[in-house]
Amino acid sequence: MGNVAEKNAVDARTTLAAALGQAGAGDVSALRRVYDLTSAKLFGICFRISGDREAAEDILQDVYVKIWRRAATFDASRASPVSWLATIAHNAAIDWRRAQPRYDAAPQGAFDAVADDAPRADDVMVEDEQRLRLLACLNGLEQQHAEAIRSTFLGGLTYQQLADHLQTPLGTIKSWIRRGMLKLKVCLGDA
């Protein structure tokens, strides 16, 4: 059972990496395969951070144009394809938020606890080993520090927005996050 699921996850990752490589060589149908495999996940990220469905679709559009232009620079030995793509989506959504202060209010749901949507084992997004390691390290932090890191990263919040929400001084929030990030780096073993 476990072996089958693991094999499926590895297959999905290999398929995605191959499609990215072909997209990098200029194959539009390969980009479409990348899109089919990942657009729901990347849209979830864009929506979570922008808090607006229409804006999230505009951001997602930019994300795939960026993926198309950068696919040739993807290096499978340095990053998993899914992490690489998710990071592009996260950056684009954060850029969008910071570029328009008028819209830069915390989106609804930004402070929600992280949904525990346990992924299916053959989900292309599964990267159990890395994710479990990161989650274990986050769990090892003081709870406030870990929550501050999670909610800012996943909700697209600034220091100030989290401070306002928690009615906690800005300096305290900064210190939680900085100390948490330092410990996280040590725990992940590459400090």
Partner: protein
């Protein structure tokens, strides 16, 4: 340039940029550092890799079909931008790949408009004019820029830059994140004709930046310093 270890302050700043918590001047400073300091850029990328598994916990939701249609329409005419030379310099200039959109977005005075509706494919009419307003990380210096795509003519307003033996070098950074030098410019206002080969980079969403460089060896392959002025190109 040797890779010096990051100061604790810059180490924190790299983590904060990857986390996304910065805004205003702090974000602009971090984005400028990412452009000019390879060690800093590598640390930002390392943090993005460390944090990225967390993104797997966000619930998926399907986008509407209009997204793919718009992507397909936009990449159809995008092939000209991809060149092997561009990719080579992309690797040489570590960390620049993700920055061109980001850096402009981080600066308060930059003209940024919402993305055009996806049904509109951005093909500017021949008569359109591109403008940009370059501003410094501290919000002090500002330079107005106008560009006539028909003639390839770029007009730069005067700007007061800190006196130094170096001179301002102008860069265009299209969406692939690779800076291309447009040469040394005069700080008291200038007008230059952009080389035919460079004009394809002068497009909506590209970033213009000025770094202070040694004039004798210009144009350079890549900036050596933190940009003193940065702005985004908008076709109007």
């Amino acid at each position: 340039m040797p890779d010096l270890p990051l100061s604790p302050e810059h180490g924190s700043l790299a983590a904060e940029l990857a986390l996304g918590v910065l805004e205003g001047a702090d974000r602009a400073e971090a984005l400028c550092l990412k452009l000019s300091n390879p060690t800093f850029a590598a640390e930002v990328e390392a943090w993005r890799r460390r944090l990225s598994p967390l993104l797997g916990t966000v619930a998926a939701m399907p986008p509407s079909a209009r997204v793919w249609n718009a992507v397909e329409a936009r990449i159809g005419d995008g092939k000209a931008v991809r060149s092997s030379a561009g990719l080579r310099s992309l690797r040489l200039w570590r960390g620049g790949a993700l920055v061109s959109g980001a850096i402009a977005a981080g600066l308060a005075l930059v003209l940024v408009t919402r993305q055009p509706a996806p049904s509109v494919v951005a093909v500017p009419p021949a008569t359109s004019v591109a403008v940009s307003q370059l501003s410094g990380a501290d919000g002090g210096a500002i330079m107005a820029v106008a560009y006539d795509p028909q003639k390839g003519l770029l007009r730069l307003g005067a700007v007061s830059l800190q006196g130094s033996a170096k001179r301002p070098e102008l860069w265009i950074i299209p969406e692939d994140g690779v800076p291309r030098s447009l040469g040394i410019v005069r700080a008291d206002g200038d007008e230059l004709t952009v080389d035919e080969g460079m004009r394809r980079f002068m497009s909506d969403g590209a970033t213009l930046a000025i770094t202070m460089e040694d004039a004798a060896s210009a144009p350079h392959k890549a900036p050596s310093a933190t940009p003193v002025l940065v702005g985004k190109f908008s076709i109007i």
